[in-house]
């Protein structure tokens, strides 16, 4: 009964999405206050029914209702409650419901928090968001119904993939989706702006906090995915340039370019059409990711079960939404011009270079990810484009970007005035180079060109970021939220770069065969296998090893790698034993029983790896602080149709 109610709720949500779009767009066109209000009510209604649908599916999982096909495929009588709930979004149909829930949530937030926008504009934004909602809800109801019944019902479920039975499943998809879906707000703002033919740049100020919010969720979501892969997959890898990973990274790059471009547009009214195009692109890349993971056109470890009908539907939806937005852009953007000027070393200039490099990086990843598809479609054979390619080419735009980032933070709007910053920049650069040589040489015994460059750029960005508040405090100037956020986020980028350089340059990995009592050495640490015991868990059995790690004879820690066999069947899973440290991680994974009491183990030494994710947390924190800057919460009244006019200078 509950699943049927859930299904019904989904249908009602679709009808309300249609009402939301219809009333909002028509109401805005005719400036009909009643219709626009109806559109806003529909937003609330849609949200309520999506929550009900989501609740119904969750209930089916909690009650282990194996008469629902989706539950039977993704759950098992012994699956713990926590994972049963997380399993709601563990596969295709449920993850679409999560998408829709996130979209309904963002739409509700926009409705509630944008009362200062003029009503027709706000309605158009809600109208466009509604169109996207319609697409996803229709997709579910037509091709991917989470409430489909299994008749006769199964006596036992197939269980959630053991790889997914982990805490991270509870957080990674929801946060990631909040990010992906959040870019729809910027997209809707851009479409509304284009549709209205607005010539001013107030929309940039309105869009910016929403974009920052979506971007920070995406940052955390991607970082969580990376961290999860690291400890769960047993190889100690943290990024694989898998097509779906790339599909999440590309919107992030576009989003980063967008928040910087919005700064220029908001401040000086420049590059309006470029910023609008970026806003459309960021969400388009989110949708593209959805297509890539569910259509089967690319091979990916993240790919959901696919079938041709679904692929065609998503592609049609993609074409309609993105194609429509791009045509709207082509129609309206040519009218948006501005005459403002700026010096070569001005902040505007640096932000432009930022955009160029980020878009170049984005283009390279897009090309590399899709190249096998292009070649196959043209019947030129099958090739693979993997980590060796991406790792190399990503550095090409990234290194100049890191270098310029350190200077750009100190450039003043319009005039640059870099001479004022010269001293601190030289100091930062010197410390960075010396520091890089020290870290590489002294700490890890290796001075290599790319490694040293990586460390130097990381330190450079970190020091340059720190000098911004230091200078302001010394001059007794206030530090607004936007500036503080920028400093923290940029510092985070430097920290992440430090971690990446460290682990990629100096990691050590060794496969060994050990019997109880044997030891092996990796990265200066001794790993001794001291015991092997049998293991029983809630829905699995297995073997656990005790590995004592010591350095210079003194014990550091004991790790407990496990090998599990889940009761629902399937292949054995390995749970690595990881020791987290400020300077390095130590990693042990249990392999196979080789007979005669010996087991194979993979031992790894991973220097500085934690800073990759710590940096990401700081990046997101910076975004949050910037988004909450007080000036976004002040009322801004827009004047529609007027080109940029000289106004009081903004601080």
């Amino acid at each position: 009964m509950i699943p049927e109610l859930g299904h019904f709720a989904l249908i009602l949500a679709l009808l309300l999405s249609i009402a939301q779009s219809g009333f909002s767009l028509a109401g805005a066109a005719r400036v009909n206050v009643a219709w626009m209000a109806a559109g806003r009510s529909a937003v609330v209604g849609q949200f309520v029914f999506i929550v009900l649908a989501f609740g119904a599916l969750t209930y089916a999982f909690i009650e282990q209702d194996f008469s629902v096909l989706y539950v039977a495929t993704n759950s098992h009588s012994q699956t713990p409650l926590f994972y049963r709930v997380a399993a709601v979004w563990g596969a295709h149909e449920g993850s679409l419901l999560l998408w829709s829930l996130c979209l309904a949530g963002w739409t509700l937030a926009v409705t509630a928090l944008s009362r200062s926008l003029d009503a027709p504009f706000r309605s158009r934004v809600l109208g466009f968001l509604g169109l996207i909602s319609i697409g996803f809800q229709l997709f579910m109801l037509v091709t991917s119904n989470p409430f489909e019944r299994l008749i006769p019902s199964a006596s036992e479920g197939r269980d959630l993939n053991p790889l997914l039975q982990d805490f991270a499943l509870a957080v990674h998809p929801p946060i990631l989706y909040l990010g992906y879906v959040g870019f729809s707000v910027a997209f809707a703002f851009a479409c509304a702006t284009l549709l209205e033919g607005r010539l001013d740049a107030t929309w940039a100020r309105w869009t910016r906090p929403w974009t920052l919010a979506a971007w920070l969720f995406l940052t955390i979501g991607i970082a969580l995915g990376s961290w999860w892969a690291y400890y769960e997959l047993g190889w100690g890898g943290w990024w694989f340039w898998d097509p779906v990973e790339n599909a999440s990274f590309m919107p992030w790059l576009a989003g980063t370019a967008l928040i910087h471009s919005l700064a220029v547009t908001e401040k000086r009214g420049l590059f309006k059409s470029w910023t609008l195009l970026l806003a459309v692109t960021a969400f388009s890349l989110s949708l593209l990711g959805t297509f890539l993971v569910r259509s089967g056109v690319l091979i990916s470890v993240h790919a959901f079960a696919t079938d041709p009908a679904r692929g065609i539907f998503i592609l049609a939806f993609l074409t309609a939404v993105i194609g429509g937005a791009l045509l709207l852009f082509a129609w309206r953007a040519p009218r948006l011009k501005s005459a403002a000027g700026f010096e070569v070393t001005s902040r505007e200039s640096f932000l432009l270079f930022n955009n160029a490099l980020l878009v170049a990086a984005l283009g390279l990843i897009l090309l590399g990810t899709l190249y096998p598809l292009f070649m196959d479609a043209l019947e030129l054979g099958k090739i693979s484009v993997g980590p060796p390619y991406f790792e190399l080419v990503f550095l090409v735009p990234m290194m100049p970007l890191l270098a310029l980032m350190g200077i750009g933070m100190h450039a003043a709007w319009k005039r640059g005035l870099l001479s004022l910053a010269r001293t601190r920049l030289y100091v930062a650069a010197s410390i960075a180079v010396v520091g890089a040589l020290l870290i590489g040489g002294a700490a890890y015994g290796g001075i290599r060109p790319v490694t040293t460059l990586g460390f130097a750029l990381a330190l450079w960005v970190m020091l340059s970021s720190l000098s911004v508040p230091i200078v302001r405090l010394r001059a007794r100037q206030p530090i607004p939220g936007a500036v503080l956020g920028m400093v923290i986020a940029h510092f985070g980028i430097g920290l992440t770069t430090l971690g990446i350089t460290g682990v990629q340059s100096f990691k050590v990995e060794k496969d060994v065969a050990l019997a109880v009592g044997d030891a092996a050495e990796v990265g200066g640490y001794a790993f001794r296998l001291t015991a092997l015991k049998n293991l029983v868990g809630p829905n699995f059995t297995g073997v656990e090893g005790d590995v004592v790690v010591s350095r210079d004879g003194r014990p550091v820690t004991t790790l407990h790698p496990q090998k599990r066999l889940y009761n629902s069947g399937g292949n054995p899973m390995t749970e690595a034993g990881i020791e987290v440290g400020a300077a390095r991680d130590l990693f042990v994974a249990l392999g196979d029983d080789l007979g005669q009491g010996r087991w194979s183990l993979r031992l790894q030494y991973k220097p500085l790896i934690r800073y990759i994710w710590l940096g990401a947390i700081l990046i997101a924190l910076g975004g949050a602080i910037a988004a909450l800057d007080r000036r976004y919460r002040e009322r801004v009244v827009a004047r529609v149709g007027e080109p940029d006019a000289a106004a009081a200078p903004v601080s």
Binding site: E266, A340, S384, A513, A576, V650
Partner: protein, 144 residues
């Protein structure tokens, strides 16, 4: 179909059989070369993984082949050719440099130079305009 399910299950579990304890080189330089090679080769069964990380039986067979070819004294290029003769370019994670991948390999420099050139021209134009007409430095968008 059953093979497909087995393969998928195998490919989705983190390493168990990917750990080889037998195939090591005593010489660290050779071992490093071996590891680089096996990480650059794609598993054809678990196609999301390199043969270094894959649990598949074929992956361990291919690791053995690479090991034996190295012991025979073959160069990296010869080992890659050995594999592409049998499996095609798909097995290489680093795409080979051929006419058909020219765009892929020249893209980094093309995109970088292209982007920097476009931006450079825009910046130059705006700076020139600012020099000619200092008052447009003062133009502001409508804001309060």
């Amino acid at each position: 179909m059953r093979f497909l399910i087995l393969a998928v299950a195998l490919c989705l579990s983190p390493i168990a059989s990917a750990i080889d304890s037998g195939q090591r080189f005593d010489d660290p330089a050779l071992q490093a070369r071996y590891e680089r090679l096996i990480h650059d080769l794609r598993c054809l069964v678990c196609q999301n993984e390199s043969i270094a990380d894959s649990n598949a039986m074929l992956a361990s067979d291919l690791r053995r082949e690479v090991h034996e070819l190295m012991v025979e004294g073959r160069t990296d290029a010869e080992i890659r050719t050995f594999l592409t003769e049998r499996y095609g370019d798909f097995v290489l994670y680093r795409p080979p440099l051929r006419p058909r991948t020219w765009l892929l390999w020249s893209a980094p420099i093309l995109f970088l130079l292209g982007g920097l050139t476009v931006v450079g021209l825009i910046v130059a134009r705006r700076a020139r305009a600012a020099r000619a007409n200092p008052h447009i430095l003062e133009e502001e968008p409508d804001q309060q």
